[in-house]
Amino acid sequence: MQHGLTTPVESSGWAPLQQSLETLLESEGMETSQARNLALCILNYERNLHYQRERYLGSERHAQHKPGHEARYLKRAANQLIKQCKSLKN
């Protein structure tokens, strides 16, 4: 079974939440494109955290994956989120 962390967020089970995030971010004056990119980064980061939580709880579904993998994906997701947030200043 795949962990699904490499699937684009837009095509994942997290996609239905994207619009709600965009709307909330736009409500504070963020441009549409910025809000969309940031929402995707947030969802990707949250997806990784969710996986981390499940793995920590010992979910058998994730037992077959090597520990180092989710750390790499989590780090990458954090990098993307950080980069996106910093770009808002520019």
Binding site: G4, S12, G13, W14, A15, P16, L17, S20, L21, L24, L25, S27, E28, L38, I42, Y45, E46, L49, H50, Q52, R53, Y56, L57, P67, A71, L74, K75, R76, A78, N79, Q80, L81, I82, K83, C85, K86, L88, K89
Partner: protein, 208 residues
């Protein structure tokens, strides 16, 4: 997991968060795990949000993620302790405790988890040429790989935390005056020093 079931499982979780606007609340995510103190989490999160002066949606979200990093570190640290104590309790059972019986392991585990050592335990260890320290050393040696993995997870959270803190400062032109966080970071860096972890820093130049 199907899209529907994931959404349902996410939405079914709820937590009374903080008064400020929260993306986490929109997502319906619960950062704590079963058995963890929800009140402690909420209070420390509210304190951090206040200290950071987080008001906007994004500020509050970053504050929540900073707090979650700290919580993960605490969680991993507690797991390290529980791992060592469980092994010590097992060892106590193996080396022939004088109070040997079906509840030996649980007695030793509960005693050590409570940061206590009763005289009965010490005496029993002494009879077998052990001290609490030597038994802990043996337990740590046996659980070395597991402890190393947990240290690596703590190191990862430390890096993410540093990145999020820097982001908060850059994105909002605000120097965080949070001595507690800085001290916590310094202590963690010292603790993980010497542990073989990937030394690369979180980069803001990663390709998506």
């Amino acid at each position: 997991m199907s899209q529907q079931s994931l959404s349902e499982s996410i939405q079914s979780m709820s937590i009374e968060d903080v008064a400020a606007p929260s993306l986490t609340r929109v997502l319906g995510l619960v950062p704590i795990l079963p058995g963890e103190p929800a009140d402690l989490y909420r209070i420390s999160l509210e304190t951090l949000i206040e200290e950071l002066g987080a008001r906007s949606v994004l500020q509050v979200y970053l504050a929540e993620k900073i707090h979650e990093c700290l919580w993960w570190m605490r969680r991993y640290d507690e797991q390290k302790r529980a791992t060592i104590v469980a092994r010590m309790a097992w060892l106590a059972d193996q080396i022939g405790f004088s109070m040997r019986g079906p509840s030996t392991q649980s007695h030793v585990r509960d005693t050590l988890m409570a940061n206590m050592v009763d005289s009965k335990t010490v005496q029993a260890l002494k009879e077998k040429g052990h001290t609490i320290e030597t038994m802990r050393q043996e337990a740590m040696e046996h659980k070395r790989e597991e402890l190393l993995h947990l240290d690596q997870q703590i190191a990862l959270q430390t890096k993410i935390l540093a990145g999020l803190q820097a982001t908060y400062e850059v994105a909002f032109n605000r120097k965080m005056n949070v001595e507690r966080l800085q001290l916590h970071n310094a202590l963690l860096r010292r603790d993980v020093e010497g542990i073989e972890v990937v030394a690369e820093e979180l980069s803001s130049n990663d390709e998506r």
